[in-house]
Structures are given as C-alpha cells and as structure tokens.
C-alpha cells in the first residue's frame, strides 16, 4: 500500500515555515511574477501577439512556487501545457518564455514550440507537453535513466486533475512504483479538467486515493493554495525520491481563476461566478502576504514596491519578445532531425520554388 498523508484543502493555511526572511520575500516575489506575467500574457494574447492555445496559471501560483524553486540543478521537470509559471519557477527568464509565446527566435524553444512547449535543456526543463497524460511515462523514463546511471537526482512531473482518469497514469505509476523510479508526480487539482468538474468524471472521492494501488508509492494531498504546505509536501516527496528511490504523488488542491484557456471566459457555463469570487478570497498570493505582513517580513508598502518591479520586469519581457526576430523561413526545416533534413523529402514539397 502507498503511504498516504492527509492535509485537507479546507484546513486553512499553515504557519510560516522556518525559512530565512529573504527566502520568504523571494517566494512571494516569485508568485507575484507568475501572476503579472500571466496578466501580461493575457493582454498580449488579446492584442494578437500570441496565438494558439494559451493556458494561464493565475490562482495556482503556490504550487509552482512551493514545488519547484527548491529543486537541485541536477533535478528534472516534466510538465504539461499550463506551464509558463513552472518555467519561470525553474529560473527561465521571463524574456525567453514571453518570446516563445510570441513565436520568436529568442524564445526558449526558438519559437517552434509555443505556449505549450517550453523547454530549457540547460535547466533540465523538459517541456511543455500538450497531450493530456503523455508526459507521465516520459517523466518515468527520465527516472529510469536516473536509476540506470545510479544517480541521485529526481524528476518532478506536473499535470492537471484530468490526468487522474487517463490510462497512462496507471501504466506510468505501476512501472514507476515497481521499478523504484525517483519521480514526484504533482497533480494540480484545480477542480476542472477544462469545463468538467473532476467529481463528475472520477470514480473516486479523493484523488490521492488513486495512489493506493501502487506499492511503495508515497502519496499526500495538500492545500495547493498554500505555498508553505506545498513546499513542505514537495520537500518530503523529493527526499523520498532521492534517498529511497521510490515515486510520490502529491495532490495539490488549488483553483484556477481564469478560464481553461484564453479561448474561455473566466467562469463560463460550468461554474458559477460566485464560486470563482469565493475562491479569490483564498488568493494564494494575498494570503501569503497577509501572513508575511503579520510576521513583519513583508509590509504592504514593500509589496507594492515589489509589484512595481515585477510589472516592469514583465513589461520588459514583452518588449524583448516584441523586438525579437521572427524565425527565418529556412528554419522551417531545422530542428526536425539531428542531422540534415532528408533531401528526398524537402525536394518534393515545393518549398524552395515557393520561396522564389
């Protein structure tokens, strides 16, 4: 049986962890950056500078901030398509992320990936995967390589609650548990898979119970709106992976304030506006600020000052993205294969003729 720990969503926020003040300030600032970055993203999307599917993170900042920055450099992250904040949390610059959203050459994936495919090999940020459930076994594969090479790094795999019902979850967890792969699976349970409330489609009351079927898998449910709780749970899961060579599952109970993607309204037909408003009372940034303020670590004035800085930072990122060149037409054939693009293929598609 998996080991399961309960940290109910409704239990309220924990006390502040005993961290250096500077670290608390950084965590708050991180979350503020994610928020302002996504607000700027929404604006740019509406101005037509960003296209395609674009999924915002607003409301879920505590998960990224609580789960990612404390990872070691040698660790890995494999994420899904709501991953802008994950990239920022991993230390990727707002410039390269925004430039990627803009489809420009300075984007972290050279403008070839877009919003759903952020990559940074230097930081072991391994995507950005847009097929629901597909990256769970990929994360296990990275874990396989860690065991294969007898290393002590870990893999963090983030996904939404809709993944809880997909077959790849079983296949991945089964092998990860059986083979002892050091993967921390974090489900950001924001209650809705697109417009479908998780309760309507999952035949299990507590998602965390899903992990009970895998021997050796550590499992816990935490308040994903509380960066402290998130941080604590992740630290433990990472330790288990690193030291005990077994996988974990963290159900991070959180809430998304925006629509599923930029194509959706904030609430829509599937949830009442009241619900969104009510959840906003529980804003992960403001509730953390409140505690920091109470503890005398960050005042409201300091917060406002930090906010100005963060806004400047994302504005600069947008400016950078805007000025970054669009990819050269010749780049269309680049990065498909490690060696040259096959001659037999590129000469049959009329590309060169069309360019002339």
């Amino acid at each position: 049986m998996a080991t399961k720990e309960e940290t109910p969503h409704a239990a309220g926020h924990r006390d502040l962890l005993d961290l250096p003040e500077e670290e608390h300030r950084d965590l708050l600032r991180q979350m503020m950056l994610y928020r302002r970055f996504e607000e700027k993203t929404a604006e740019s999307y509406q101005m037509g500078k960003i296209g395609g599917f674009c999924h915002l993170y607003i409301g879920q900042e505590a998960v990224a901030a609580g789960g990612i920055p404390q990872l070691e450099e040698r660790d890995h992250i494999v994420s899904a398509y709501r991953e802008h904040a994950h990239a920022l949390a991993r230390g990727m610059s707002p410039e390269t992320v925004m430039a990627e959203l803009y489809g420009r050459v300075d984007g972290c994936s050279k403008g070839k990936g877009g919003s759903m495919h952020l990559f940074d090999r230097e930081r072991n940020f391994m995507g950005g995967h847009a097929i629901v459930g597909a990256h769970l076994p990929i994360a296990a594969g990275v874990g396989y390589r860690i065991r294969y090479r007898e290393e002590d790094s870990v893999v963090l795999c983030l996904f939404g609650d809709s993944v809880m019902n997909i077959g790849s979850l079983n296949e991945s967890w089964n092998m990860a548990a059986k083979w002892g792969l050091p993967v921390v699976y974090i489900c950001e349970n924001n209650s809705y898979g697109m417009g479908t409330e998780i309760d309507r489609v999952a035949a299990v009351d507590e998602l965390v119970d899903r992990a009970c079927g895998y021997d050796g898998m550590h499992a816990t449910a935490v308040d994903g709106m509380d960066v402290m709780a998130m941080r604590e749970a992740t630290d433990e899961a990472v330790r288990i992976a690193r030291e005990e060579k077994r996988p974990s599952f963290i159900e991070a109970r959180c809430y998304r304030y925006m629509g599923h993607s930029m194509a959706d309204p904030a609430h829509g037909t599937y949830r009442p506006k009241d619900e969104v408003d009510e959840e906003r009372e529980n804003d992960p940034i403001l509730s953390y600020l409140e505690r920091l303020d109470d503890a005398g670590i960050v005042s409201q004035d300091e917060y406002d000052e930090m906010d100005e800085e963060v806004i400047d930072e994302v504005e600069a990122a947008a400016e950078f993205a805007d000025e970054s060149p669009k990819p050269d037409p010749e780049a269309v054939y680049e990065d498909i294969y490690s060696d040259a693009f096959p001659h037999g293929i590129d000469r049959r598609d009329g590309f060169r003729d069309a360019l002339e």
Binding site: V142, G143, E171, N174
Partner: protein, 332 residues
C-alpha cells in the same frame, strides 16, 4: 561469409550495440526472462549479467513503456523498445508520433530522442485482421521519425545497428515471416547499413520493381518468373528505408528501365507505393514508357481463412502480372 537467420542477425546487433555503448538498453514485453516473444532477444538477459536495467521486461503497457523509452532517450540513454508486434504499437501511437517525433522540433532542437522502436510488421500466418497489419505508411508519414524495413539478415543487422546509433527516433519494421530466413552476413563488428539508402537487390534492364521488407523476396521470385516466361529482365530496388526515401536510387533505376512496379504488403490507399509513384512521376516523367503499376495487399482487413489470406497477400504472381502490364505483355 556466414549464413545466419534474420533473427540471429538482429540478436547480434543487440549484443554488439549494447556491449559497445552502455547507454543502450532493451525494453519490452517478454524480452528478458522469456527470451523474446520471437526469440530475437534470446540470451540477452543472461549475457548482460541479469541486469534488469539493461534488459527490461515490461508489463503489457505499450503506452507507458514506449513513453519511458522516450523519456530515457531525452535524458541521454539509447533505448531499444520492442513492441511484440507493430499491431500493439497503436496503443503507443501517441508516444511515437506525438512525443518521439515532435520532441526535437518543439524543443527548438534541445531534446533529441535517440530511441529505437522495433517489432515485426505485416501478416504472418492466419493471425487474423488485428495481428496482420502493415504500419509502414502510417509512420512513414510523420516528420521527425525515420523508418527502416530490412528484407535480409544483413540489412536487418546493419540497419538496426545504425538505428541504435542514430540520434533521432528510428522505427525498425521487421517481419515475422522473415525471422527464419537465412542470408549471408559479413562477420565484422561494425556492419552498418546507412539509413536512407536503397539497394539494388537484382540488376535488370526491362522494368524496375520497387519494394521493401517481405516484398523483396516476392519481387525476386517474380523476377525469375517473368525472366523464364517472357525473357523480361527485372531490376529489384529494395527501399530498405521508408523515411527518408532514397528517391535517387529509385529514379536512377526507372530512368534505366523506363518501367516501374511499386510493391508493398500494406493497403493501397495512401500507401508507401503512392509516395514512390509520386516521386517517379515527378522526377522521371520523361523516362516512363508505361504508367507505373502498383501491387499491394488487397484493400481489406486481413481475413483469417487460409485461402482468403493468401488471396489478400501480394505474392509473386501479383507482381508478375504487374510486370507484364508495364512491359505491355498481354494478360495471361
């Protein structure tokens, strides 16, 4: 030169590559303790000191273990992922097509995926419709993948070794009916057959038969048939790699013979043959003396009954017929 089976050739390739490079490992259903569903991996587990990490028996979970292969490859290993047959790969189609094939491009060239997916494809004997399919055109359609389909033991060994060393995902389509076929394989450590190069398996002057995998054997048989019956001298071009196609070798041969028959085991609609015919009409139009003929499996799910299966399989007589047609020899 020793004559060994296609199965042994593949086995040798595994051993040699796994010995040469410790980042190479094999995973799949029954590859270890069971010695492989088709015994391709016979003795490997033992050979690698019972290391479950080098020779990994997986649960029946194609989606999961193929994804693990992709992840391990992204992280620097060189997995060989065996599907028991390509028919089961469809459970993992997403990992092959959406993950392996796309990773290098969507990461802007940061994460290549040096994974090999291998399995037997096509019909064997009376396995029924779900176990008798040719995935060749489906996967060959996908940019980011490389697809090889060796016909002989030599090519099987050389192409698998090249596939393992390739930095991109390579699909090796083998043949259940080929595993027991024998052929000469040079006794050298580094037998590499380059990916993307077709080979003329039989020289001839009157018509070119373009084919791959099992169909090469059928084409060679048909070539002898029409030579005896009509004195027609057929050139057989074995594509060996389906993506990228070696258009140059095909065109060179067609320019020489002026006639082409394109053969594949799979279905006719949007098949490999359709692509080859397209390349021929575009690059050798002025050399054609007859419309290019195609031979394929019948456009039906493979039936079980022995006689119907035989009918649906593109055997040598079908190919002979097509050769006669492009050579303007009256129907028999």
């Amino acid at each position: 030169m020793p004559s060994i089976t296609y199965r042994e050739a593949l086995n040798q390739a595994h051993v040699e590559e796994m010995e040469r490079d410790d980042s190479v490992f094999l995973m799949g259903e029954e590859v270890g303790v069971y010695d492989g569903a088709y015994k391709v991996s016979k003795g490997l587990l033992d050979h690698f000191d019972d290391s479950q990490w080098r020779v990994r028996d997986t649960p029946i979970a194609e989606y999961g273990f193929s994804g693990i292969g992709v992840g391990a490859a992204m992280a620097g290993l060189r997995p060989i992922v065996e599907f028991m047959t390509w028919n089961f790969s469809f459970l993992a189609f997403d990992q092959v097509v959406n993950s392996a094939a796309k990773m290098y491009q969507m990461s802007g060239g940061q994460y290549n995926v040096p994974v090999v997916f291998r399995a037997p494809g096509g019909a064997a004997l009376q396995l029924g419709s779900q176990h008798s399919q040719c995935p060749d055109p489906w996967y060959s359609n996908v940019p980011g993948l490389k697809v090889v389909a060796p016909a002989t033991p030599r090519d099987a060994k050389g192409l698998l070794k090249s596939a393992v060393r390739d930095d991109d995902p390579v699909l090796v389509i083998e043949g259940e009916l080929l595993y027991n076929t024998k052929g000469e394989v040079p006794d050298e450590d580094d037998l590499l057959v380059p990916i993307g190069e077709a080979e003329v398996k039989r020289e001839g002057s009157d018509a070119t038969v373009i084919c791959h995998s099992k169909m090469v054997l059928q084409a060679l048989e048909a070539a002898e048939g029409v030579l005896e019956e009509h004195g027609v001298d057929v050139e057989v071009v074995d594509l060996r790699t389906l993506r990228p196609l070696d258009v140059d070798t095909v065109i060179e041969s067609v320019k020489k013979t002026n006639r082409a028959v394109v053969v594949e085991e799979g279905w006719p609609s949007a098949g490999i043959g359709a692509q080859v015919v397209d390349d021929i009409q575009r690059e050798a139009f002025d050399w054609l003396d007859a419309p290019v003929a195609r031979v394929s499996g019948l456009d039906v799910p493979m039936p079980y009954a022995r006689n119907l299966e035989k009918l649906a399989f593109p055997s040598a007589p079908y190919i002979e017929n097509a050769i006669e047609k492009v050579c303007y020899i009256e129907d028999r």
